[in-house]
């Protein structure tokens, strides 16, 4: 079987060319639709990567605040920080002193910070700022609350929950979009392969009558699907590079405060995904088209 395929490689490519030539217009339309489908998948994957990056950043900033009982201020706060750091799901813990807490509030209040001057002395307490793994927010809050010397924990649980839901939502939306696009590409390629087989059914039947194995009759169609997806994947990738370049330039110019990831971190993974998805879907679509087009009769 291997010899049948390897010994006829050039014949198979020539056959693939002949198959395309006999149904030129259909292949042109399929190529265009494949480019659009893959471009859409590239844009979605780029958007998905950017959203993930943004959500990861938000998740990285997830933190809870631990307030110690009064007697801990005598010198046990550092000991408490070490205990908090030992809890599972804690990435980092540090003490925010009274002055830093005051400064932070000033920053938050901005022009209204004058109100703080009404206090005779700094009204803020020192606390422990704990950066956490967002997926374990509830467990960390419970574990830290039960530590000796902890008065209470401000965990913003609702906000953290929302950030986690946002991350899960982005992940799910990305998977769903990619599955939908994958199915669309698969159907598109397998349909054109089936059409090609239908157009050449007499020739294929003749070859079967002459004893040609399935690998011999099917390989030109797999090559056709592969070339179709390679060309459309390459074209979609080229357009994607152009679009992301323009989008980055636009965002940097008009919305400079948005924390977008570096262009290379989004563009190249999305391009690689587009080309790989194109090739995989092309080959899978061809094989699917061949399988569904073959009749059971010898």
């Amino acid at each position: 079987m291997k010899r049948v395929v390897s010994g006829n490689i050039w014949y198979f490519f020539a056959e693939a060319g002949r198959i395309v030539r006999t149904n030129k217009l259909s292949y042109v339309f399929t190529l265009l639709s494949m480019v659009l489908i893959l471009l859409l998948s590239g844009i979605i994957s780029a958007g998905w990567l950017a959203s993930r990056h943004f959500a990861d950043k938000l998740a990285y900033e997830a933190e809870i605040y631990v307030y110690a009982e009064e007697e801990e201020y005598a010198g046990g706060l550092l000991e408490l920080v070490r205990s908090v750091e030992a809890a599972e799901g804690v990435r980092e813990a540090r003490i925010v002193g009274r002055d830093e807490a005051y400064g932070r509030m000033e920053e938050i209040l901005g022009d209204d910070a004058e109100i703080l001057s009404l206090f005779d002395e700094n009204p803020f307490r020192a606390f422990i700022e704990v950066k956490i793994d967002i997926g374990k927010a509830a467990e960390v809050a419970d574990a830290v609350s039960s530590l000796h010397g902890v008065e209470y924990v401000r965990d913003n649980r609702e906000l953290l929950e929302q950030v986690k839901n946002l991350m899960d939502g982005i992940l799910l939306a990305g998977y769903l979009a990619i599955i939908a696009i994958g199915i669309a590409a698969l159907i598109s390629v397998s349909h054109i392969i089936r059409q090609g087989i239908y157009g050449n059914r007499e020739q294929l039947y003749t070859l079967k009558l002459l004893g040609a194995p399935g690998a011999f009759t099917g390989t030109p169609y797999v090559i056709t699907g592969f070339l179709l997806s390679l060309i459309s994947g390459g074209a979609a990738a080229g357009i994607l590079i152009f679009i992301t370049g323009k989008a980055y330039a636009y965002i940097k110019e008009t919305l400079p405060f948005i924390p977008i990831p570096a262009e290379d971190l989004i563009t190249w993974p999305a391009v690689a995904f587009t080309i790989a998805a194109g090739i995989l879907l092309g080959i899978a679509g061809s094989i699917f088209g061949l399988k569904t087009a073959s009749s059971g009769k010898h």
Binding site: V4, T206, L209, L210, G211, A212, P213, H298
Partner: protein, 237 residues
């Protein structure tokens, strides 16, 4: 090699009480007993619709006996025979189809080589064999002509060249004299008969009995409404 295997090698085709009934109920072949020895030249005659093409379809594994047994060159042909075995059997056969089944858009030479590409023949030898076959059929100068530009007779000769170039053990020609005048028809049958040798069995179906009168050392079978008649005419092989 067992006794049965050696017997099968001597016999190209053995059929016992073989019947073929199509799904629509048409009985194409009725309880046929048949033995064709390797190297024989066999003419199967009968009017149109008598079952000649059905018989050849059975020999090629395109149909299976609905009753009885059939063995072609050692391969049992029935509904349980796997596709791989049927394909292997077909690679031993050189078929000449009634409608030639040439590939339009491909040249005469390409049509012949395409039928050899999966036989394990080396490329260079493949081309030599194909050119030889074209020369023997008188079409050496038409090697590069696209199949669709050939005349009816030329297409038929290319089909014969394609069958012969595969160096088959069995040549099956279905009504090769179809629309030809007597002179060309006799030439085609002579050409096909010339491929018969110690290892190659040639089976030709035709409704024109007058065309095969001059062929000696041939076996003649008749088919009438699906009933296979006894051997008659010609010198028995």
């Amino acid at each position: 090699m067992s006794g049965i295997d050696s017997a099968l090698q001597e016999s190209a085709i053995i059929a016992n009480r073989m019947s073929l009934r199509y799904r629509d109920g048409t009985e194409a072949l009725k309880s046929a007993d048949l033995e064709i020895k390797t190297g024989e030249l066999v003419f199967i005659t009968g009017p149109s619709g008598s079952g000649k093409t059905s018989l050849l379809k059975l020999f090629m594994g395109m149909e299976y006996p609905t009753e009885g047994t059939l063995t072609v060159m050692g391969t049992r042909v029935d509904k349980n025979t796997c596709s791989r075995k049927i394909m292997a059997l077909r690679r031993e056969i050189g078929p000449v189809f009634q409608d030639f089944r040439l590939i339009d858009g491909s040249s005469a030479l390409q049509n012949i080589t395409t039928g050899m590409r999966f036989l394990g023949v080396r490329k260079k030898i493949m081309k030599e064999l194909a050119l030889e076959a074209l020369e023997r059929t008188g079409l050496a100068d038409k090697a590069d002509t696209p199949a669709e530009n050939l005349s009816w007779g030329e297409r038929q000769r290319v089909a014969i060249a394609r069958a012969a170039a595969r160096d088959p053990k069995l040549i099956l020609a279905d009504e090769p004299t179809g629309n030809l005048d007597r002179h060309n028809a006799v030439n085609i049958i002579e050409l096909l008969a010339s491929y018969r040798n110690m290892n190659t069995t040639v089976i030709i179906t035709t409704h024109a009995t007058h065309l095969i009168e001059g062929f000696e050392n041939s076996v003649r079978l008749t088919l009438e409404s699906g009933i296979l008649g006894r051997r008659e005419g010609g010198d028995q092989a």
